[in-house]
């Protein structure tokens, strides 16, 4: 069952197209990551889905409600943690959560109190409940802003860079929380720059660049499709004849030599078939081989390749 479905969702600010014909679906209970460089349109996409902005064209359904026609219904069933903590600094932690719980329709004060106590306990903030948020550290504010996003127990949660500014322990708590929410059937859409987070958490990711979708799928799938193995040869001494000989093979896609070293990295289509031929050619051209390794491209390499490639996948 789909929690979110967008069809050619577009947002323009004057001449700037922030989100460009974005179509994707998110399944119920899924952790869906939106990846992309700064200014790619991640935050605008989240703002559109949370009904903070209305689309210039295209449409989107969130929890079965249209983001334009049923925006109030959408607001009721989603929780959003924004890029900035956006907390009232003159209010205490408890007052902040109490205000938002009531704003999201929890009118029973006993119910609000229980919910707030559970959340503040979970984030280790109950002892600071009566402290004004202005005195909180960045990490504490970030935790409180996530607590605020889920204070009304929403079905769909949007998190914009949720682990940004957190120490490793707090970041881990947030990630564990996201996993537990997913197990309870909650849908989580989050944007991040931290590829490791996406790798550990997401069922699927969407990579966007300049507002357009450039990749969508399970991260493993994207890695397999996009990543090519690298043959890494360490030579005793670097010789241009050897490099030229390697480049002669048509199966060789790219040859790079690390600065101030004699390590040659060769991107290949088919590592098993061609590796013995390349080794033979290196030896015949006078290369003295110290070691040979086959490595896979890192997640960062693949991500940068996709983003810099900028090829829009439909």
């Amino acid at each position: 069952m789909q929690a979110i479905e967008t069809i050619e969702l577009t947002k323009k600010f004057g001449n700037l197209v922030a989100v460009d014909k974005l179509s994707f679906e998110v399944e119920k209970g899924e952790i869906f990551g939106i990846l992309g460089p700064n200014g790619a349109g991640k935050t605008t996409t989240i703002r559109l889905l949370a009904c903070l902005l209305s689309p210039s064209s295209g449409s989107a359904n969130v929890g079965g409600f249209d983001i334009v026609k049923d925006s109030m219904k959408v607001r009721e069933i989603v929780g959003i943690q924004t890029e900035n903590p956006s907390l009232y600094e003159r209010l205490t932690a408890y007052e902040n959560l109490d205000f938002f719980a009531e704003a999201y329709g929890i009118l029973d004060s006993q119910e609000r109190r229980k919910r707030i106590r559970d959340l503040l306990d979970f984030f280790g903030l109950w002892v600071f409940k009566d402290k004004k948020v202005g005195a909180f550290s960045r990490g504490m504010k970030q935790k409180l802003s996530i607590a605020r996003a889920i204070v009304h127990d929403p079905d769909i949660i949007f998190l914009d860079e949720p682990t940004s500014g957190l120490d490793p322990e707090s970041a881990r708590e947030i990630k564990d929380l996201m996993k537990s929410f997913s197990r309870k059937g909650k849908t989580i859409v989050f944007s991040t720059h931290v590829l490791g987070d996406a790798e550990k958490l997401c069922n699927r990711v969407m990579i966007i660049s300049k507002g357009k979708r450039v990749a969508l799928g399970a991260l493993e799938e994207l890695l397999t499709n996009t990543s090519k193995p690298i043959l890494r040869i360490t030579l005793k001494k670097l010789d241009q004849r050897v490099i030229d000989a390697i480049k002669c093979f048509k199966q060789v896609k790219e040859v790079t030599v690390a600065d101030s070293s004699s390590v040659v990295s060769i991107v290949l289509d088919d590592v098993e078939t061609i590796t013995p031929e390349i080794i033979k050619s290196v030896v015949l051209n006078g290369g003295l081989i110290l070691s040979v390794n086959v490595v896979n491209q890192s997640l960062e390499d693949v991500y940068l390749k996709i983003v810099r490639g900028g090829k829009v996948e439909n």
Partner: protein, 269 residues
């Protein structure tokens, strides 16, 4: 009421807002009349030195001349100052108090970047708008009433001493001024602040621009009164109240349309 409750707590903890809320009424209601009656030594002036003011008195409307007919020139001057000349200054209280609160409440949320999560809640635009208007309006009305009580006390202290035990306040003009014109002018100030807040990013900017628009109008009223062109009697106060109510209707209509979620958030992107 939820927005009102939240903003009210924030205001109570913000000395940058509390200071003008307390200082302005005190300055207008207590310091200004005390200053006027002490610095020039009006109370100690011999009656003969005030004879030149007779010309000014002759330019006053007939009804005021009738009110001071039985008084000597010194008593008449004090009576007119307390009763009429200080009245337009008194309007500074609702204008400034509502301007300070409204600009913090509207533009301040934008500046502190709390507006985004507020607008993400299922609270309707009209609830949000009304809550924010109320939180600026209610304290300005309270401050006006408190100022009036203080001013009445100070004015009556002088009048008892100098007008042979006569209590000059409250009277109809001042009651209309406090309970009709002041709330209306507070709404004008709020309406202007809301419109300006939608266009600017900071609350100080919003405060300065909206006060910069309304204060010259008030200064015109003060000078008109001093020059004897307009005297704030019951009819003038009612006329100003009705006129400003029409202006308020237009200002608040524009304010509501500029308070749309999309409009506000587009400015933040």
């Amino acid at each position: 009421m939820l927005i009102f409750k939240k903003d009210w707590i924030e205001i109570r903890r913000n000395w940058q807002i509390l200071l003008p809320i307390f200082a302005i009424p005190f300055m207008i209601s207590v310091l200004l009349p005390t200053f006027i009656f002490s610095i020039p030594g009006i109370l100690s002036m011999p009656v003969s030195s005030l004879n030149g003011i007779e010309t000014l008195m002759r330019n006053l409307p007939k009804n005021i001349q009738a009110e001071v007919k039985e008084m000597n020139i010194q008593q008449a001057l004090i009576y007119i100052m307390l009763q009429y000349f200080l009245a337009p200054f008194f309007l500074v209280v609702p204008i400034m108090v509502s301007d300070v609160i409204a600009s913090d409440s509207f533009a301040g949320e934008k500046e502190r970047k709390t507006i985004e999560t507020l607008l993400a809640t299922p609270i309707s635009d009209s609830e949000l708008f009304l809550g924010k208007v109320l939180v600026a309006f209610v304290p300005s009305v309270i401050a006006t009433i408190v100022s009036f009580l203080l001013y009445s006390f100070v004015a009556n202290l002088y009048s008892v001493k100098l007008l042979n035990g006569k209590l000059i306040l409250p009277n109809l003009t001042w009651l209309l001024l406090v309970f009709c014109l002041s709330p209306t002018i507070a709404l004008t100030s709020i309406g202007l602040t809301v419109i300006v807040s939608a266009k600017v990013k900071g609350f100080r900017e919003a405060q300065q621009i909206s006060a910069g628009i309304i204060m010259p109008i008030l200064l015109m009223l003060i000078f008109s009164q001093v020059m004897g062109i307009v005297i704030l009697g019951p009819q003038v106060v009612l006329l100003l109240t009705v006129s400003l109510s029409i202006v308020n209707f237009l200002l608040l209509s524009i304010g509501i349309s500029s308070f749309g979620r999309e409009e506000i958030l587009s400015k933040l992107v």
